[in-house]
Amino acid sequence: MIFLTIGTQEPFDRLFQALEQIAQRINLDIVAQNSPNSAFTSNLMEMNSFMAPEEFERSFDLADLVIAHAGMGTIISGLVKGKPLIVFPRHKSLGEHRSDHQQATAKYFGEIGYINVANSVDELEELIKRFISGELLGISKPIGNYASDSLIKALKNEILSK
């Protein structure tokens, strides 16, 4: 199953339309979490608006592949669960976010091999085909549940030094 999630912010219909186009050509089993403010509908995906944390977690756990906007919540969940991730960054110029930081996030995390990045329908389709042929894997060593010891220690000291 593919889990499509765009986080809790504004709609991101461009990603839904991209995956819809691909799903017309390739048979895919898709569970999608959409923004309650989106008008996008589909017969090719199981659509949900806001998902409760437990429900979101369950879909994430069941997914073989996660396709998402370049939001940190999704990327971190993917890294904790060791899921293959394809991210499709939002663009400010298209009214998809208030800044263009998702492109920077995608670039940095893509370069260190944590995620796969698609910027167009063609790139997304190519990555999905690679996933189907077994070439797209999650990170080999999933991350733990907490921040780095050094950050925890620094924060702990800050709190105590009040």
Partner: protein, 147 residues
């Protein structure tokens, strides 16, 4: 110490939860912008507030009122936030109440500090970036939420 840990929903909240070991041994109050997150912090007090962002003035104002009330009632010693706008509001109000204020910029901001983080760096007691190349004299780098 009494600590308020506050953030917006989504990635900010996930990052805040990954800092939990730093709050061990303190009285902890979580604040976020979605009621459904209460279930994720069953052992702590939790407040849900309205979401506010730069393009939603009405939401921001209601956010200010609610955060002011929570800080007045709880009177924390320390306020920690991972962003975004509600976290900045909490640090500003917290500063007025004499709380220690700590901003941890989201790991999503890998090319420059967020706008809110920049504002926080002008007055907060401590500002952390999660990227070494972004540290400056008043923005510290001590690691990130991923490891």
């Amino acid at each position: 110490m009494k600590v308020i840990a506050i953030s917006s929903i989504g990635g900010h909240w996930i990052q805040l939860l990954r800092l939990r070991p730093a709050f061990a041994g303190h009285e902890l109050v979580f604040v976020s912008t979605n009621e459904s997150f209460r279930s994720m912090v069953p052992n702590s007090k939790f407040y849900a507030i309205s979401d506010g962002n730069r393009s939603d003035i009405k939401g921001l104002l209601s956010c200010v009122t609610q955060i002011f009330t929570i800080i007045r009632i709880e009177s924390p010693d320390v306020i920690v936030t991972t962003g975004a706008a509600p976290g900045l509001i909490a640090l500003i109000i917290g500063m007025l109440f004499g709380c220690k204020t700590i901003w941890i910029d989201s790991i999503a901001n890998c090319e420059k500090l967020s706008l809110s983080g920049k504002i926080a760096s002008k007055f907060a007691n401590r500002v952390f970036t999660q990227w070494e190349h972004l540290k400056t004299d008043n923005v510290s780098f001590k690691g990130n939420v991923l490891k």
